[in-house]
């Protein structure tokens, strides 16, 4: 083992282990502004049950949460609030754009709506749909878990 400290088998396993722990303990902050919230609730409740994926405990303080779920249309009036919520979250943090309004602005092309939240904050997973079905949301959640598992873990 001499000369191998800090490289190879041992560190990569720590990385995987932290990723495994993080992907199954997602504390989400639901930033719910519009009709997508109903699908978010449907997903969170017992029939679809996000707790199966370790994401069952939403925190209502951004300081305690890992994943920001932006659920629903973001207007220009609200944009500074969203940015502040994102800044208040502690690292490591991820962002999910839930619904087509948060992905691209959706069918809104007007003076009030932000054309996709990725113009304001970095986004990890996009879940399209107007609104997305719960299966679609779970698919996005699993993709986020894969991303968390694969990435380099900061600790």
């Amino acid at each position: 083992m001499k000369g191998n400290e800090g490289t190879g088998f041992f560190t990569s396993t720590i990385n995987d282990m932290i990723g495994w722990a993080r992907k199954y303990s997602i504390f989400q902050y639901p930033f719910v502004t519009a009709c997508c919230g109903m699908e978010y609730m449907a997903t969170a409740c017992s029939h679809y049950d996000v707790d199966r994926f370790g994401a069952g405990l939403p925190r209502f303080s951004p300081r305690q949460s890992d994943v920001l779920f932006v659920v629903g249309t973001i207007s220009h009036k609200l944009a500074p609030v969203l940015k502040q919520i994102y800044d208040q979250m502690t690292d490591p943090k991820w962002v999910v754009a839930f619904g087509v309004c948060t992905c691209t602005g959706g069918f809104y092309d007007n003076y009030a709506t932000v054309m996709g939240i990725d113009t304001l904050i970095p986004v990890d997973v996009y879940i399209p749909g107007c609104p997305p079905r719960p299966e679609n949301v779970l698919d996005g959640l699993i993709k986020l878990q894969e991303k968390i598992q694969k990435q380099k873990q900061e600790y």
Binding site: H76, K77, A79, P80, K83, D109, N110, Y111, A112, T113, V114, M115, T119, L120
Partner: protein
């Protein structure tokens, strides 16, 4: 028997400009300077008894080449008599101003702020006439027909 808007015309012939009656929606177009007096009248008169201001909004007639350009629309309802009446006031484009109804129906407060925000029509006598939906940094009035519908004025992030 006279309909409600016709009764209003009979009582105030010099202040009622025009009458419509479409499928039972009775409307009287009145002179802007008489708005306060007529509003007070339909609130207190026992034949009218309009205790509810259901809605207050405006219409921009730019594309229809209206002159004067704006119309402020008031929808009244009487819970005791179960009847409705609409009043309309025509407002010109240069410094559009009408009297505020907040003293008579307090609910007019937010309605008038909305009309100010969206159409830029001022309400004289309003206690706190400021924007209600858009932010203070926003310039212009987005429901005016000459405001480009997708002209965005972001507070943060990229410009348009």
């Amino acid at each position: 028997m006279l309909k409600l808007h016709e009764k209003l015309k009979e009582r105030w012939p010099e202040n009622v400009v025009e009458l419509h009656d479409f499928r039972g929606d009775e409307t009287a177009v009145i002179k802007p300077e008489a708005l306060l007096r007529l509003a007070n009248f339909i609130k207190r008169d026992s034949q009218f008894d309009m205790n509810v201001l259901m809605d207050l909004t405006a219409v921009d007639g730019l594309a229809l080449k209206w002159n004067p350009r704006f119309e402020v629309v008031y929808h009244f309802f009487s819970t005791a008599k179960n009847h409705r009446l609409r009043l309309k006031v025509r407002v010109e484009e240069e410094t559009p101003t009408v009297s505020s109804l907040t003293e008579i129906w307090p609910v007019a407060n937010w309605f008038e702020r909305e009309v100010w925000d969206m159409f830029g029509i001022r309400f004289e006598g309003h206690p706190d006439l400021k924007r209600i939906l858009m932010y203070e940094e926003f310039s212009g009035h987005p429901l005016r027909k000459d405001y480009p519908y997708n002209k965005r004025q972001p507070l943060i992030g990229p410009k348009n």
